[in-house]
């Protein structure tokens, strides 16, 4: 049985206590299930003090106490992983920069989207020298593995516009949705209200502040419109603040649900907001809302333009507060359009069904392993 060792940064927090199922973590779980189904022996590695856990029952996750991250790379973690996995037939670097500086002979890395496209990134790498060095390392990381699987075409386009020679490294495998689990269904909550959902991590790059602003403006304007903010924030304190904020308005709610609960939550919604401003791939939350047949308003960022065709299966906007308010208002006033683009969203989601994702991955893995 071939052995696959996977290196990530933090599937669990480095102390192993706070578990947040964001998109990347869910990708990791589905990816592991797929590899096990394919008959591989799988193990995971991440940053940690030496504790061990499981990523899914029966699949070990081990930790390496190397968290030093100069210039947004983890060379020591990379080296320790290389040395600890001598028995691996294939290495998967779950984040592209983890493949710096050295990769296993047979290896694949995964790009979950462009993550350096926000103005704040400039302050993380303040000098030209730092920026150039970071780029040099990223190039080494992208050039090392046999294949870089990209969840969106934006990353490929950026990489090829920066280093044209990398084109053949890339395989485009967009993210997935289980269209059996996520599908249109009957509302428990009834039709007396129009419900707008923001089913994301509560962070600035996801457009939480723009969405919160839109919620305040539009719940004042319309008494029959509700906003549901569904997802975790980065800390208990932020989650407390969000709860307090939501409590001040009758028609604004804040809560979170496990991924398993999301299908039955989403069927009660009428409009979904994915107003990302940066660091976005082919968002699972976008695909899930599409599969439920909901009209989506998405930021025109990263991989979202691989999923949403403006006016066909959603609206794609420049994610400014004003544009978001106008787009929601437009959909609130046009229930027929909501229906139409929601139907098209479901139809297009079928092209991203998880079975297709597994098939594409199987092809890439067998190509790299060379049978």
């Amino acid at each position: 049985m071939a052995k696959i060792s996977i290196l990530t940064t933090n599937h669990y927090s480095p102390e192993g206590n706070r578990i947040i199922y964001g998109g990347a973590e869910r990708y990791g779980v589905e990816f592991t299930k797929m590899l096990v189904e394919m008959g591989f022996d799988v193990e995971w590695w991440q940053i940690g003090t030496g504790w061990e856990s499981e990523i899914i029952p029966g699949v070990k996750l081990r930790t390496i106490p190397e968290s030093e991250a100069p210039l947004k790379t983890l060379p020591r973690l990379n080296q320790a992983f290389y040395e600890k996995t001598v028995d691996a037939d294939l290495a998967v670097y779950f984040v592209t920069f983890l493949a710096y500086p050295q990769v296993k002979e047979k290896s694949i890395s995964i790009s979950h989207g462009i993550f350096w496209d926000y103005p704040g990134f400039d302050t993380d790498l303040q000098t030209d020298t730092e920026r150039r060095e970071w780029l040099r390392r990223l190039y080494i990381a992208l050039n090392g593995p046999q294949k870089v699987v990209s969840v969106d075409t934006a990353t490929i386009q950026w990489a090829v516009s920066t280093w044209p020679g990398l084109f053949n490294k890339f395989e485009y495998i967009p993210n997935f949705v289980d269209t059996e689990k996520f599908k249109p269904g009957d509302k428990v909550l009834g039709n007396n209200k129009v419900r707008v959902a923001f089913p994301r991590r509560m962070t600035s790059v996801r457009g939480i502040n723009e969405a919160a602003y839109a919620a305040e403006v539009l719940t004042k304007k319309y008494k029959n419109v509700e906003f549901h903010f569904i997802g975790r924030a980065h800390s208990d304190e932020l989650e407390k603040q969000l709860t307090q904020w939501a409590n001040r308005s009758q028609n604004i709610y804040y809560y979170w649900k496990s991924p398993e609960d999301m299908p039955r939550v989403l069927v009660n919604m009428d409009i979904v907001l994915i107003p990302s401003k940066s660091t976005e791939g082919t968002a699972l939350s976008c695909l899930e809302a599409m599969a439920v047949g909901l009209p989506i308003i998405a930021g025109y960022v990263g991989g979202l333009s691989d999923l949403i065709i403006n006016g066909y299966n959603g609206l794609l906007i420049k994610p400014t507060p004003k544009n978001l308010v106008n787009a929601i208002d437009y959909l609130l006033k046009n229930p027929d359009l909501r229906q139409k683009i929601g139907r098209n969203a479901r139809e297009t989601a079928l092209a991203f069904d998880i079975t297709i994702w597994k098939k594409r991955w199987a092809e890439v893995i067998s190509e790299v392993l060379g049978k």
Partner: protein, 370 residues
């Protein structure tokens, strides 16, 4: 000079001698833009490169060629800047220049995504446009993504207006239905430019034609460079399959018919691609599309929904074509969805999006709306 004059600056709407129109996506784009500006009560004219100084009127539009371009394009642009008031750049200028600040620049997609180009120099060209112009209108989301990933503090200046298809001109001739048996025509409706993938199309296409007696290739190509046509025709004539490879050069008016007689349309771009008119028109015509994952094509096609997306690779193209030839039902589904997606790229929507930008950037030129 008219008080609501807007001068379009571009490389060549007409050939450099001013004698005949140039065939290409940018030129088609500009003719549509000129019509829209007139509808909005603006008086547009065009300033372009010339092999000598000339002035012509075509379709009621005054067009000036600047012979200075033979010496230095940047000098020609400087001369144009001196001769004009409010300007509109129909494409990014590849030479060092100072854009007029209250202006629009159009990006037709990333053009330097090939080893023939220097990424650093070309990113600097984009930076110049983003820094100096008021608004950069991009025809696709991937140019925007590249800019955001490179110059995040400037990318807010970008607005996206995808290209369009005229849905009345380009439409299925009859209700789309399963075509089981009968001949299959595979169309390549592009210019003979290396970036458009003619080699890829011919190499893969000939392998398909060899294997499938009922398949024909149709090349609908330009004649901007007659020497390219000669090379391609010589190559085709040297193959045993020459009788099943048709080439032609068509006017825009003939293109609806060309698409109507095609079953599969291939857009095999290798680099430098935006939201291709050919792709949009093939979609609107209800053809089944195979496109590459290059530039803005992925903003038009969702793999397995309204077409197939491949890497620009001969084996992948052969595989995609084999799949489509073997599956008439799949061809039908993809082509139906292609037509319905194309309806979100109508000329009217394009005009509506442009009107908003033009009102924002050139409020002084637009008659007030009451």
């Amino acid at each position: 000079m008219s008080h609501n004059r807007l001068s379009i600056i571009m490389p060549n709407l007409l050939t450099w001698d001013g004698k005949k129109p140039v065939t290409g996506g940018l030129e088609r784009y500009v003719w549509n833009l000129l019509a829209l500006l007139k509808e909005m009560g603006i008086s547009p004219d065009v300033h372009q490169n010339g092999s000598f100084d000339w002035e012509r009127e075509v379709n009621g539009i005054n067009i000036r060629g600047y012979g200075m371009a033979r010496i230095a394009i940047e000098a020609a642009i400087q001369e144009i800047h001196g001769n004009t008031d409010r300007v509109f750049y129909a494409s990014i200028i590849y030479h060092p220049t100072l854009y007029k600040p209250d202006s629009v620049v159009i990006s037709h997609g990333v053009w330097w995504d090939s080893s023939n180009y220097d990424p650093v120099a070309n990113l600097a060209i984009c930076r110049q446009a983003l820094e100096q112009a008021k608004t950069v209108v991009s025809c696709d989301y991937n140019f925007l993504n590249v800019m955001r990933a490179t110059l995040p503090t400037l990318s807010h200046k970008i607005e996206v207006i995808p290209n369009f298809a005229d849905l009345e001109l380009f439409k299925p001739r009859q209700a789309l239905k399963v075509k089981d048996g009968g001949d299959i025509t595979i169309l390549f409706p592009r210019r003979l430019d290396i970036c458009r993938g003619i080699d890829l199309f011919l190499n893969a296409g000939i392998r398909i034609v060899k294997k499938h007696p009922g398949v024909k290739l149709h090349l609908a190509v330009d004649t901007n460079h007659p020497e390219f046509n000669r090379v391609v025709n010589e190559y085709i004539n040297s193959t045993q399959e020459k009788n099943r490879i048709i080439t032609g050069s068509y006017s825009f008016e003939d293109m609806p018919e060309v698409y109507a007689t095609a079953d599969i349309v291939v857009i095999p771009s290798i680099f430098s691609e935006g939201t291709s008119f050919s792709c949009l028109e093939a979609m609107a015509s209800g053809c089944t599309l195979v496109v590459t994952n290059v530039g803005g094509l992925t903003n038009l096609i969702i793999d397995g929904y309204n077409g197939l997306i491949i890497k620009p690779d001969e084996n992948e193209l052969v595989h995609a074509l084999e799949t489509l030839i073997a599956n008439p039902r799949l061809r039908l589904n993809l082509s139906r969805n292609a037509r319905s997606v194309a309806e979100s790229f109508s000329l009217n929507l394009w005009k509506e999006r442009w009107r908003k930008i033009i009102r924002e950037v050139y409020p002084d030129l637009v008659s007030p709306v009451f």
